[in-house]
Symmetry: D2
Subunit: 260 residues, 4 copies
């Protein structure tokens, strides 16, 4: 089951900051310390280790979506796992759901949604910048989730063809312009998640969601801190990412909003 074959996706793992995605093939893979002839991986099992020509020990893993996303070509700022994870969970996605994404970017969120709604569900993702759409196309192809994803190269301000979708995800610079069309695309009670780096964007977004008839459930930010767990020396890491994006969660109501 977990035996590696020609074409299998591979994660070569040294440590949290040094890891690479590749494919079992006839190629030679170069690291900062020696190379690996990738056909040596054939017949190995995920979880095995392999040494480079210079003796560096690497673990051989089956890449998860999160591993693939971290190796994505990224012409634009990519969403962080903490934020993707929280949004996916808040949207309550299940296999079979149909999701509309506005702002494909590098495709990190796209494939994470696709994994959650796969195999029967679908993601429709809109992007108006051709170079981003191209990069995302290549990134998506690496994950094997392409069948669950339709890319639309189109200005999202022109509205969406999809109706009655389970959820809408918005990740672009002026999300407040999408609130009305997001409302129309959502099924009653459907969820929306939007990412905004600045408080000014957050402010406009929240106002526009309320005006459009969505109930704003919450806006949050998540701070992730790594902890070093070495025996006798437990402590948080010195450096951390201080800010990525605020996440706003909203829900489509059918009538006027409840009194707040």
């Amino acid at each position: 089951m977990s035996e590696i074959k020609e074409g299998s996706h591979i994660l070569l793992y040294q440590d949290t900051r040094r890891q690479w995605i590749t494919t079992a093939s006839k190629q030679r893979f170069h690291t900062h310390k020696g190379y690996v002839d990738l056909d040596k991986l054939l017949g190995m099992r995920y979880g095995d280790i392999i040494k480079t020509s210079k003796g560096l020990t690497l673990s051989v893993f089956k890449p998860r979506i999160i591993d693939m996303v971290q190796s994505f070509d990224r012409p634009t700022q990519i969403l962080y796992p903490k934020d993707i994870a929280y949004a996916v969970y808040q949207l309550g996605l299940r296999p079979g759901d149909t999701v509309l994404e506005v702002g494909t970017g590098s495709g990190a969120m796209t494939v994470s949604i696709a994994q959650a709604v796969w195999p029967d569900g679908h993601v429709h993702t809109y992007e108006m910048r051709p170079e981003f759409a191209e990069a995302a196309k290549a990134n998506i192809a690496k994950t094997g989730l392409g069948d669950a994803i339709t890319q639309h190269l189109k200005d999202p301000s022109e509205g969406f063809d999809e109706k009655n979708v389970t959820a809408v995800v918005v990740d672009l610079g002026d999300p407040w312009k999408m609130s009305g069309s997001a409302y129309r695309a959502l099924m009653p009670g459907g969820m929306l998640a939007a990412f905004t780096p600045t408080t000014n964007q957050l402010e406009k977004l929240v106002a526009s969601l309320r005006e459009s008839g969505l109930l704003v459930v919450e806006s949050v930010e998540l701070m992730l801190r790594e902890i070093r767990g070495e025996t006798g020396k437990v402590r948080p890491e010195t450096r951390m990412i201080g800010h990525t994006a605020y996440i706003t969660i909203a829900r489509k109501m059918l009538n006027e909003p409840p009194i707040r």
Copy 2:
């Protein structure tokens, strides 16, 4: 599609802190401000609003797993959505996966995993305290995900019957005692996530995982801060949860660990 029928799960929503899970039925549901006769919900659609006998406006939503979890009976401390979401995403779960959970608790993590592996996958969850297992059973029943979950009322230190599972989740007071049996239950390359409130637990856990042949990918903590997005008055909320649990992510290697 989204029409409410006899027995449909309902989320009656006033605001983030006041929301209730119930069922469309012949019962009368009492709030702090009037009641709702639940049979009035029949034929309504999710996203509609309803008023209580005293005029309080409530939104009527289809509850997500996250909504249900927040209404769970909790004889024990419950995991927070931010932590559940991050662990589920890090585990890379997909429909069809088999997951072993050690420490059912109230079942919040159990149903969140079940949602991710549903409909073909399965969760085996172990709990040795009968009163927790009973509460979890009732909680799980409310979610409709029971078919994807098997509860084992058993001391997890005696080991597990399952082999070759995709992932293991550990949430109990002495997680370091499970590292060896978790290793044996995992498929090669399989993932583990464990939750620990104290740094002493984290320290012992990390050491035991390494001794057992797991590669510790990371230990992290997530801090979630709510943001008030009112126009002209954007600011983080005054109060926040300062700490829930550290999350440790590890991965099964087949041979000796790489040099770190």
Copy 3:
């Protein structure tokens, strides 16, 4: 030296959340668990312990400014020690300095500045709401730092009489209205610290400081988390204060601002 006399300030300390400021006198002091006849403190030393009539053990300490501030009457939101401490340090205050404060509030910042510039320096503090000025007056009196403080009951938008002050501290709702008059009151190179709860206030403040010829050194927020240090159970506290105020630090330049 540390013997307690008639009229000495006293901190009766049970734990971090239960502590009271009083005075050695002929009064009887009531706690939630018995009383203390305060004349029993005469002749004791700071650091001693005393028992209430019901056997509760209390430590008897000399109150610091931070202890007194926490017992202040507060008709308005009070600044937190973490923020006061950071601002006082950033202002680089020394004995002998003259400081202008705009927005006395409850006087917590006022007395903290006074302690830093005491005995030769002085604080001029402006407040236009008589009830706040009155409360602050009573609070200041308890600290024994009144000689270093002059209270002005006056609308700060009318400008200040003081010139060439070492530092200006601004803590009121519309701090951007004070930037010009703060500039005029400051000595060249003098420092300004301002507190703003919302990002909208922060935004207007920063713009106005720059327009007025001040160099904005930084805007920051400080998050303080308490850690439980119990042996074998080290962990952050569950609850924390998520937000108090942003602190902006600026400095008066004489000519046009440097290119940024």
Copy 4:
């Protein structure tokens, strides 16, 4: 008053990350973009601006202690302003106080304490590593606060000559070894502040303080996040320092500790 003379300390300020401490003199000062002949500063006022030979505009400020500390030679990890500020405020220091410091390090805390107790107070600071003591000596000399500081090149585990000090500050790797001698050196009711990077150190420290008869007021950590206040684009900075040190505050009791 604020006119610059031969030998005056100068802060040349470009922005938060590019600033330099120097002295008005006959020297030439080189930046990454041109030089400044420092005798041109004579007769200027703090707050003026000056241009380098390549046209870079710099502000000319009187350096605060915090500016000087940031330019200190640092053979060892230096404490951060947020932590120094909080400890100084918690210790309740006033002009005239006598403070004992264990672990001089680079002298950053030493001069910050000296500034708070200056001109009549005094800091006795212990350091057993000669190279650190030397670096600290040079750093202290730059601040003009040397008269208020006595450096002891001595193993602090041999105890201290000072008695009845107002406060003790501990910043070294094994602070739990100092709890007994710190207790003996403190006046009754006197305060202690200690810095520990790891939770293991924190745990041992807290236990040793309690055993030695000190009341542990609190252990905390401070997280500082910078906020960009640009109009229309307000947001926290992407990167931040995630961890520096835990700060523990304690107080000397004379008798047995109160029941906790």
